[in-house]
């Protein structure tokens, strides 16, 4: 019994890490662009498809496929960033919602049109199980947890010490002031977006081996899971997002075990709505950005 609970918590941490890598990108994009990115899950899907394409069509090894997946996502993000995301800086929240919803429709359905809507089999990755402290986990899952930690620490260091990171933080705190002191807001917005989309792509590539199937509609599910996370985490708050992602991952895992698999995908939004009714600004302050 106890063993099962611990095992489910570990499972939850794995999915929490996946959500976290996607959600931090989304929350940083919100911090800088003030827009909820409804297309964020689509970059996760694009990363997966990039890697699947590399493996299935060119027989490339998985590590190379990771790079290809992330680079492909980032390249698409450059295009979207230039044509869409830069323009919604300073626009009303509704404009951001509608524009990113449009981007999501375009990306998702283009992929379905090109590759077909059916499930593809992802054959790369490190799927052999290993035993740690009596739990068996696929190696890939351990990799996901490690990458999740690296991303978290890396982002913390970046926003604290690097020039770009500091600028991102500045933009997220006060956009008008940045323009005055000579920070190129639109440039920062573009790079934040590319970073966020790239992270989502990375998360997709890392998850593909354990999820096995790859399909065009997979991004939407991820978007719907990350939306509650970033709102509960306090929009724009990276640390809060990490905690919220872990909480959701663990909660989902426990619900799937003790309530029923069929209720798992509702946990996020149900929790979100309860939280919003109790604290309209999320669990963590949105003020403590980055």
């Amino acid at each position: 019994m106890f063993y099962t609970v611990i095992e489910q918590v570990v499972n939850g941490i794995v999915s929490g890490s996946v959500y976290a890598i996607v959600a931090v990108g989304m929350t940083m994009i919100f911090g800088v662009l003030r827009a909820i990115n409804f297309a964020h899950g689509e970059y996760y899907m694009l990363g997966t498809f990039g890697a699947w394409f590399a493996i299935d069509y060119f027989d490339l090894p998985y590590p190379v496929a990771i790079v290809i997946g992330v680079v492909a996502t980032a390249m698409i993000a450059v295009v979207v960033g230039n044509f869409v995301m830069q323009r919604i800086v300073g626009a009303p929240a509704e404009a951001g919602v509608l524009a990113t919803l449009g981007v999501a429709l375009i990306l998702q359905n283009t992929v379905i049109l090109v590759f077909g809507g059916s499930y593809k089999f992802f054959s790369g990755g490190y799927i052999e199980p290993v035993s740690i402290f009596g739990f068996t986990l696929a190696e890939q899952r351990i990799l996901i947890i490690i990458v999740g930690l690296i991303v978290f620490v890396g982002l913390e260091l970046m926003v604290t010490y690097s020039r770009m990171g500091k600028a991102m933080r500045a933009v997220s705190q006060n956009i008008e002031c940045c323009a005055v002191v000579g920070i190129d807001v639109s440039h920062i917005a573009l790079w934040t977006f590319i970073l966020g989309a790239g992270l989502a792509g990375l998360s997709g590539v890392l998850t593909a081996p354990v999820n096995v199937s790859v399909y065009g509609g997979m991004g939407e599910l991820i978007t719907f899971k990350t939306l509650p996370i970033i709102i509960m985490g306090g929009l724009g708050n990276v640390r809060g997002t990490f905690v919220a992602a872990m909480i959701l991952g663990i909660a989902e895992s426990l619900v799937a075990t003790y309530v029923g698999l069929q209720f798992r995908d509702t946990v996020g939004f149900a929790t979100l709505m309860l939280v919003l009714m109790w604290r309209p600004h999320g669990l963590f302050s949105a003020q403590a950005r980055f």
Partner: protein
């Protein structure tokens, strides 16, 4: 004055153009002599693979028939309609085929939920609905003497399947404790319902019961629960796409090779076995057909399909191929494309299929055998073909 005239002219003109363009949409039933056959299947969406296989099978059959001079001199043309695997879109596609394309016959759908929704539509229009791939028993409970006289089914039902699987598992393997992990559709739910009906006969019980949504990717929690429950086998009635995922995650939670999968979810295809050989070893499946089935007609079909499409056919390709041929034979016997006559011909047909002779009972349900197989050493081994007469609820 000129302005006003032109404006008035504009109004009338618009109305006329509107009339003209719109009326061209309503064309009369074609009299060019082709037999129009609508195929409703999931062409897009998560089950698009089934739709693609179904369409290939049907088109291959149409090609063969047309190459041989057609049916009574008429060519068959297959008109696909996309159900996206959902009842609502399925009904929409059916209406579109009936109203717009004016088809004479419809084959479809793969998913039981969709077929159940299509039945009243076909009945209202008086168009023959010949199902080739849905296994929910209710479809033919309600057909023939059960009500819908235009619905026929050339596919074995879940009731049959559930009984055969359970019987084999209990008698040959000695299992009595099961865990359920099925897809949350009419198909998955009904199969479990009928499994439960026969559980007492084999003194067996179900320990855990979970249903997953199409597109589910994380089964670890459930599989861990099953591992700890003490079940001897997992009853899975699902879609082919979930099988590799479940297999891999069974390896992860350490139940692969210990708790076999039984039921139906394309355990026997090469791609499923390749994805998780250890988990699928010992899997028991009851299928309407499989590529390894040993009959000359079946072998010839597989060879021809591979030559045509460069890929081995699945169950859906076969059943649609066979069903188009069956329909062609009925039309030939009726010596007419008159729907009423074709329907009558179908009721009395004796058709030699790749798995045996097909006849229809008074519920318009084809009497068909189910093939039972077990995965042994990474290859499906056929354990026999079983058929059973259905007890229709009175």
């Amino acid at each position: 004055m000129t302005i006003e005239l032109s404006r008035r002219g504009f109004c009338i003109g618009t109305a006329l153009i509107g009339l003209q363009t719109m009326s061209s949409g309503a064309f009369a039933r074609s009299e060019d002599g082709t037999v129009k056959l609508g195929l409703v299947a999931p062409m897009s969406g998560p089950n698009a693979r089934y739709g693609a296989f179904s369409l290939r099978g049907a088109e291959m059959a149409a090609k063969e028939i047309n190459a041989g001079g057609g049916v009574g001199g008429r060519k068959i043309s297959v008109m696909p309609g996309d159900s996206q695997g959902t009842p609502v879109e399925g009904v929409s596609a059916t209406r579109r085929l009936i109203d717009q394309s004016q088809v004479d016959y419809i084959i479809g759908d793969v998913s039981s939920s969709v077929t159940l929704a299509m039945q009243p539509v076909a009945e209202d229009a008086g168009v023959l609905l010949l199902n080739a791939a849905s296994s929910n028993p209710k479809i033919t409970y309600k057909a023939g003497v059960g009500g819908f006289k235009w619905t026929y089914r050339n596919y074995p039902t879940d009731e049959n399947r559930a009984l055969i699987v359970l019987q084999y598992a209990a008698e040959k393997k000695g299992f009595t404790k099961y865990a359920v992990l099925s897809v949350d559709t009419d198909y998955g739910r009904a199969a479990i319902e009928f499994t439960k009906k026969y559980l007492p006969r084999f003194k067996s019980q179900i320990l855990t019961e979970d249903y997953y949504k199409e597109g589910e990717v994380d089964f670890r929690s459930v599989l861990a629960k099953i591992r700890d429950s003490g079940a001897q086998a997992i009853i899975m009635y699902g879609n082919a796409d979930s099988t590799p995922i479940v297999g891999r995650q069974m390896i992860e939670v350490g139940i692969a090779g210990k708790i076999p999968l039984i039921g139906n979810a394309e355990f026997n295809t090469a791609s499923s076995i390749k994805a998780a050989p250890k988990a699928l070893e010992g899997a028991i499946e009851a299928a309407a057909w499989l590529p390894a089935y040993d009959s000359p007609k079946s072998k010839a079909f597989v060879e021809k399909f591979i030559a045509e499409y460069g890929e081995a056919p699945n169950n859906h390709a076969y059943v649609h191929w066979e069903t188009v041929h069956l329909l062609a034979k009925a039309i030939e016997q009726a010596q007419s494309i008159d729907r009423e006559k074709v329907r009558a011909a179908l009721s009395t047909i004796h058709y030699e299929s790749a798995v045996g002779e097909v006849t229809f009972d008074d519920h318009n349900q084809a009497r068909l055998p189910m093939i039972l197989l077990e995965i042994e050493h990474g290859k499906p081994a056929i354990k026999g073909a079983y058929s059973a007469e259905i007890d229709y609820p009175k």
